[in-house]
């Protein structure tokens, strides 16, 4: 038993923390928050140069092939920022979908670019009937000789504005036709004729609507050799991707806790630091408990995945705990900070917005609690 990081992980953690601190100061993050992509080309190039966009990609495809736990250590530091942009969508979820579902040709075509940051993947699954079960994917892919035609709307897609290629789930067969979910992933260039991507306004960032208007996709762009198994690919990729997303949220929670603890020392009211008041202490303690619950459920899931154990129940547990934790930690942060916490320039609401943006991504807490019960065989 050893719950510490390895030396290599400590080095990665330090490098990532240094990068985030140096390149992503608060003003930069505030400026990027409500941009369509959440990142600048220059910043994205820097991350690529550090090798972090290929962290999960095998060396044969230009990556560094590190473990999910290593990847999580990196994303925990990105979450502290919170660094925005398509890092997770492209290099984790997108890369895993291609790795697990793509043909050799598709991997060769897509993954080196992902690792270099020249190819950016966006994963388009959800539709106006929002949800993370196969039935909610209804957009048809009509088969024609040598090509498919996609028409419909994908909604609440993360980071589509930053993507060069969309991994788009569409229906090649009706549900329950005996051959898988009837859903296939299509590799669609974001600049294909008929694709219109639009950032959704509101209290979330880099969440998009994509309209497909008779978009023609070559048949070779169906991901993998087996049409109709798209949902299985998504499920398998999600198992690895979710705890990395959780680790990002753990880093975010840690950042909010750190802000609150610091403020509890420097802010004085009634002639003492506010942190001397038990109510203020309890807001922070509540946040710390959520943070640590998120942290240890997340890292246990990662350990199970990396060591080849059955990790399903742990992954659902981690996501259920972590999505909820980020909401609650932000609430605690706001209680501690009161007025100053809602000033845009202060930076706390970067996290509050992020906690909402990510809450439903790949399934919300309630969804994963139900999946947890299933995974435990009850």
């Amino acid at each position: 038993m050893d719950l510490g990081l390895t030396e290599a992980q400590e080095i990665l953690k330090t490098a990532a923390a240094d990068f985030v601190r140096q390149e992503y100061d608060k003003d930069t993050l505030i400026a990027l928050e409500n941009t369509p992509t959440g990142v600048t080309p220059e910043l994205f190039r820097q991350v690529a140069a550090l090798g972090w966009l290929g962290i999960l990609i095998p060396e044969s495809y230009g990556g560094t092939d590190r473990s999910l736990t290593d990847t999580a250590v990196l994303f925990e530091e990105l979450g502290r920022g919170p660094v925005l942009g398509p890092h997770f969508s492209s290099s984790v979820l997108g890369a895993l979908i291609v790795l697990l579902g793509g043909t050799e040709d598709q991997k060769q075509e897509l993954l080196p670019g992902v690792a270099q940051g020249t190819t950016v993947l966006g994963v388009a699954v959800t539709e106006p009937n929002y949800g993370w079960i196969p039935d909610t994917v209804q957009m048809p892919a009509s088969r024609q000789p040598d090509q498919y035609v996609l028409s419909g709307t994908k909604l609440f897609v993360h980071d589509a504005q930053a993507a060069t290629h969309l991994l788009c789930a569409a229906r090649t067969a009706p549900p329950d036709n005996g051959s898988g979910s009837g859903i296939s992933f299509f590799v669609v260039k974001a600049n294909s004729p008929g694709v219109a991507i639009r950032t959704l306004p509101g209290w979330m960032s880099q969440v998009d609507e994509i309209r497909f208007d008779n978009v023609r996709v070559p048949a070779a762009n169906v991901l993998g050799d087996t049409p109709g198994n798209g949902w299985d690919i998504l499920e398998a990729a999600s198992m690895g991707a979710i705890p990395v997303l959780c680790a990002y949220q753990v880093g975010s929670c840690q950042a909010v806790v750190d802000m609150a603890v610091a403020y509890s020392r420097t802010r004085h009211q009634f002639s003492q630091p506010i942190g001397r008041f038990q109510r203020v202490q309890d807001h922070i303690i509540g946040a710390v408990n959520h943070l640590d619950a998120a942290r240890w459920t997340t890292y246990e899931a990662l350990w199970k995945l990396d060591s080849g154990r059955d990790a399903r129940s742990s992954v659902h547990l981690a996501k259920a705990v972590t999505s909820e934790a980020y909401l609650k930690v932000c609430a605690g942060g706001h209680e501690v900070h009161a007025g100053v916490g809602v000033m845009r320039e202060y930076g706390l609401i970067l996290h509050t917005q992020r906690s909402r943006t990510l809450y439903h991504c790949l399934g919300d807490a309630r969804y994963h609690r139900r999946r947890l019960a299933d995974a435990l065989g009850w």
Binding site: V207, E335, V342, T352
Partner: protein, 410 residues
């Protein structure tokens, strides 16, 4: 017990009068934005004009004496006014005027006859809108620790200092604040309460960018400001409540800020959310038929009902002149904390739809998206949840035999 106002025929006749008057005086094209930050200058002027017309009839601050510009109306009748305005999504006053609502009450309780004659009519007739100035960079929860100074110089006070989280869009005519008038005096006995015209030399108003500026009573403001005082000269006449008596004056408006007046308005956002769920289909089925959404709706409803009953109870105590204790801050605390919980429950019920105000996809024209933000911001104005609990504790007498009394309202 009787949980409802029973109206007499005379009162129902008044309702008919109000209804007719409102249909004539509320412009047909008067709409209010979902996010108060989107209030246009044109909309603002229409609301101010409506306020002046209401004020001319004594309906803007209707419970106050006509002698000061009020309407001398009994509280049951005022509820008719509020109910009828509510049909237009409006209430009294129809724009952000918390300084008038809270400051008017304070002047009414603590001002000299001369001060009441001078200050109350323009407030109650809608000629002034008034901003309250309370928080400072170093004085939030610890409001009695304000540092803005007012030094007596002949017939004037000279003010220097800084106030934050102030006001709304499009300025005002009058402001009031508490200031240190005697830095040597002990805490709570060192303050003065001053009326300050908005346009005096030395006042600088600088906008603050917040997540949203909602959350206070009265129409929500669209924006907050920092206000700087640089040797601002105010007539000594404007000191209400006497020398170094500012904290006493403040107890009146703090009591109102802490919920001591009660609330009888329904929570329109909750009502609209529930209606939305019973009328909107998702995946082919009405949302309210989804067992999870149904449970979420119950959760929202139960909290909202408790808020309604707490507000009603306090309203009755206050207007029936019964002894009040912890009820105001209890209602305020519970409303703040459940607003955040309700927003989270809506987020669970509606998924990411709750976060967008997209014209096509945002539910209720973005009302719910704005509520997500407003529920966070609303935790703090008028006293944080922690401060409400401080006041509750003292009044319940937890750990102390002598219970603190509620602030004077009349």
């Amino acid at each position: 017990m009787d949980f409802e106002v029973t109206y007499t025929p005379e009162q129902e006749a008044f309702r008919a009068e109000v209804r007719g008057w409102l249909s004539e005086n509320i412009p047909a094209d008067l709409t209010q934005p979902v996010d108060p930050a989107d209030l246009t200058l044109e909309q603002y002027h229409k609301l101010r004009e409506l306020g002046r017309r209401l004020g001319a009839k004594g309906w803007l601050y209707p419970t106050y004496p006509q002698a000061y510009g009020g309407g001398d109306l009994a509280v049951d009748v005022v509820m008719i006014l509020e109910e009828e305005l509510d049909r237009y999504g409006l209430h009294l006053p129809p724009y952000y005027d918390s300084g008038g609502r809270l400051g008017g009450a304070s002047i009414f309780v603590w001002g000299t006859e001369e001060q009441k004659q001078h200050f109350l009519p323009p407030i109650f007739r809608g000629e002034w809108r008034t901003w309250q100035l309370l928080s400072e960079p170093n004085a939030g929860s610890d409001l009695a620790g304000v540092q803005t100074r007012a030094v007596r110089d002949g017939d004037s006070y000279v003010i220097n200092g800084q106030k934050i989280y102030i006001g709304s869009l499009y300025g005002c005519e009058m402001m009031w604040t508490i200031v240190v008038t005697d830095p040597e005096a002990p805490r709570h006995h060192n303050l003065g309460w001053l009326m300050i015209p908005y346009d005096l030399p030395g006042i600088e108003v600088r906008p603050m960018e917040l997540l949203t500026a909602g959350g206070e009573g009265g129409a929500s403001p669209g924006l907050k400001h920092t206000i700087f005082f640089d040797n601002v000269r105010v007539p000594a006449f404007n000191l209400v409540g006497g020398e170094n008596n500012g904290w006493q004056v403040a107890t009146t408006h703090l009591e109102l800020e802490h919920g001591g007046g009660g609330i009888v308005r329904r929570n329109r956002i909750v009502d609209q959310f529930l209606e939305y769920c019973t009328t909107t289909k998702h995946n082919g089925a009405t949302l309210s038929r989804n067992p999870d959404v149904r449970d979420d709706m119950v959760d929202v409803y139960v909290k909202s009902e408790i808020n309604r009953l707490f507000g009603l109870r306090t309203y009755w105590l206050s207007h029936a002149h019964r002894p009040r204790s912890y009820e105001g801050p209890q209602g305020s605390y519970y409303r703040k904390i459940t607003a955040l919980e309700i927003a989270e429950t809506m987020l669970r019920a509606l998924g990411p739809y709750a976060m967008t105000n997209d014209p096509q996809w945002g539910p209720l024209q973005g009302l719910l998206e704005h509520y997500q933000r407003a529920a966070v911001v609303g935790l703090h104005p008028g006293g944080t949840t922690d401060i409400q609990k401080v006041v509750m504790s003292r009044r319940i007498g937890i750990g102390r035999a002598a219970k603190e009394q509620a602030g004077r309202l009349r």
